[in-house]
């Protein structure tokens, strides 16, 4: 039963991974850059939730609209101000610019809030529900439900709306999309904004579960990479399934063996799978050159 409970908390963890990864996947798939700053964005959003909770006394879950809009705006500004200006230039500068941004954002959080672990609490969040012997907290259930709902919204947006269709068109064929009258640069910015906003959703859902510290984004950001690579580029459901798988595996590993070795193991698996199946566990294998 202890293992089952560990697995259950792993599912909540996986749900958060899935959200962060969905944002990363959208940016990777549409703008075609690896956004190293996604984890740092999550950190920024978490501190945003913390500020709203402690200073204005808003329930963490109710900060969702504010945090999502603010993160979306931040993503938009970052794209217009930084990313858009290096697109189509040196590959190395695209990689390193998001890396520099991540460093600046994360350490700005450290400079402002210090290295202490902060936390926000929801009265009912830590209440434990017993589901046939498996004990999970209410906050974990909300995280899972919220993540599922968000993914459904994202899917609906991408497949059922004009803007979503335009984003997918730009992702597939930027030049043809331009010929069809789509403003590709605007769609890039929109995709980047939505990707960042998804980190905001993840932050709201995870805030009552995890202690907030400047380094927290690293673990989630890197794990999101793993999910995107393994889940397959552009595959929403493949990524979600991989996220849950990794969340459960990591949680179970950490209870059975020690935490460092389980993290090292996950990264090792990542390296191996990246080399063997660069198109993801569920993707088709095509090889260029």
């Amino acid at each position: 039963m202890q293992l089952a409970s560990a697995a259950a908390s792993g599912i909540a963890l996986g749900a958060i991974y899935a959200l962060v990864a969905a944002g990363l996947n959208l940016i990777f798939g549409v703008v075609k850059i690896i956004n190293f700053a996604q984890g740092a964005m999550l950190t920024v959003a978490l501190y945003g939730v913390y500020l709203l909770d402690t200073h204005l006394g808003i329930n963490p879950y109710l900060t969702l609209p504010v945090v999502v809009v603010a993160m979306g705006a931040l993503g938009y500004v970052v794209h217009i101000g930084l990313i858009d200006r290096v697109l189509g230039k040196e590959r190395a500068s695209q990689l390193l610019i998001t890396f520099g941004l991540a460093m600046a954002l994360k350490n700005a959080c450290l400079a402002v809030f210090g290295a202490d672990h902060l936390s926000v609490t929801v009265a009912f969040g830590s209440r434990v529900v017993d589901l046939g012997g498996v004990r999970v907290t209410v906050a974990s259930l909300i995280a899972l439900g919220g993540a599922a709902l968000t993914m459904a919204f994202l899917y609906g947006f991408l497949h059922r709306t004009r803007a979503g269709t335009a984003i997918r068109a730009v992702a597939q064929q930027p030049d043809s999309a331009r010929l069809a009258g789509i403003n590709a640069r605007q769609m890039y910015a929109l995709a980047f904004a939505i990707g960042t906003a998804l980190a905001g959703v993840a932050a709201v859902l995870m805030s009552p579960i995890y202690a907030i510290e400047p380094d927290i984004g690293d673990a989630f950001g890197v794990m999101a990479f793993i999910v995107v690579i393994l889940g397959g580029l552009g595959s929403v459901f493949g990524a979600a399934a991989t996220a849950l798988l990794i969340g459960v595996a990591q949680s179970v590993f950490a209870t059975m063996i020690n935490v460092q070795m389980s993290t090292a193991f996950v990264f090792l698996v990542f390296i191996v799978l990246m080399i063997v199946r660069p198109n993801g566990l569920f993707g088709r294998t095509t090889r260029v050159a």
Partner: protein, 350 residues
């Protein structure tokens, strides 16, 4: 040899270069004299009467980072393998020589060779499957990030061997040159200076060798290079292994200089990023890039970290912003400004 007839850099706007440029010789007597003067001044620094040890330490760090940046350039600049996990190799070197010295009383000089060998082996281990299956560009960078993380976590988790986060202290056995320990701190300055010079020499020779031209050809167009008869993955592996071995040697120096290592200080991702930063700021396609970057960034970061002692994180914010600004306004680095001048282009080995 197809590689020799191709341009050594991707920007086609640059003027055509003579096929056999004469390298450093083209700098002319004035520049050569200036360089000699600067080097002589660097040699004389420890002899200045009453120089505070702090300044000597800054000098040591400049050479150390210069060495690391130059080593990175061999893989990242010449070969286009942007590794963001070079700390994995550095830490391998530091831990190998330290563990051998602590447990088997092996001289760290030999330990350094062993560490260099192990780091090169690690580079081959990670590089072979990557290049065999065509993992390049951003994907390769991701793999190196993961490699750095694996090594960091293993060093933390394998407590019986590495003592984990507690770190390893090297016993001070008295000043014995054979043990890579010196009573005069200025000796460390000369040792690291020599290591930097050797690295610079290797990078310079390598750039002008057949291997160097082949690497640049691979970086600029892998498929065309393969068509030209270059064994792409073998060339990339060689460059990565050399680069890793240099980082490992720097790791041993760090361990001997500080006499204490822990996973955070030799395997940390911040270190990996700093190495990249040195090379990118200076100009990563040039063998001099790492040195130029270190000359600017080390004093800056030392100044910032003493000035902002009570404010953790602020110095790294500035580092991050410098990187962002650099990528926006000067993606080719400082030496990259010279890349269009035919004469200097040959001198800096762009």
């Amino acid at each position: 040899m197809a590689a020799r007839t191709s341009l050594p850099a991707p920007d086609l706007a640059a003027p055509t270069v003579r096929l056999r440029s004469r390298g450093l010789v083209e700098a002319g007597p004035v520049a050569a004299g200036a360089a000699t003067l600067v080097l002589a001044a660097a040699v004389a620094v420890p002899f200045l009467p009453g120089i505070p040890f702090y300044y000597l330490q800054v000098g040591i760090l400049i050479f150390w980072y210069g060495m690391l940046g130059t080593g990175w350039t061999i893989a990242g600049g010449y070969g286009g393998m942007h590794s963001i996990g070079h700390a994995a190799f550095l830490g391998t070197g530091a831990y190998t020589s330290t563990l051998l010295a602590v447990h088997y009383h092996l001289s760290p000089w030999l330990g350094m060779l062993a560490g260099m060998g192990l780091a090169a082996a690690l580079a081959l281990l990670i590089g072979y499957p990557c290049f065999r299956f065509g993992i390049r560009g951003d994907y390769f960078a991701l793999v190196t990030v993961a490699l750095g993380e694996v090594m960091y976590q293993v060093a933390n988790g394998a407590t019986p061997l590495t003592k984990g986060a507690q770190g390893l202290a090297l016993p001070y056995t008295g000043a014995s040159a054979l043990d890579f320990q010196f009573s005069a701190r200025s000796t460390f300055y000369y040792v690291v200076m020599a290591m930097w010079l050797v690295t610079l020499g290797v990078a310079y020779r390598l750039r002008r060798s057949r291997l160097g031209f082949q690497l640049v050809a691979v970086r600029d167009d892998e498929i065309a290079a393969a068509r030209g008869g270059i064994h792409v993955s073998r060339r990339k592996l060689t460059a990565l292994a050399v680069s890793a071995a240099i980082a490992a040697a720097a790791g041993t120096f760090y361990a001997q200089f500080i006499l204490f290592i822990d996973p955070g200080s030799v395997f940390g991702i911040t270190l990996s990023v700093q190495i990249v930063l040195m090379a990118v700021l200076g100009g990563m396609n040039s063998y001099l890039g790492g040195t130029v970057g270190a000359l600017l960034l080390v004093p800056l970061s030392q100044y910032l970290s003493t000035r902002l002692a009570g404010h953790p994180g602020v110095d790294l914010v500035i580092y991050g912003l410098v990187l962002v600004a650099l990528m926006l306004y000067m993606p080719y680095g400082i030496l990259g400004l010279l890349r269009r001048a035919p004469r200097w282009r040959s001198v800096i080995g762009w």
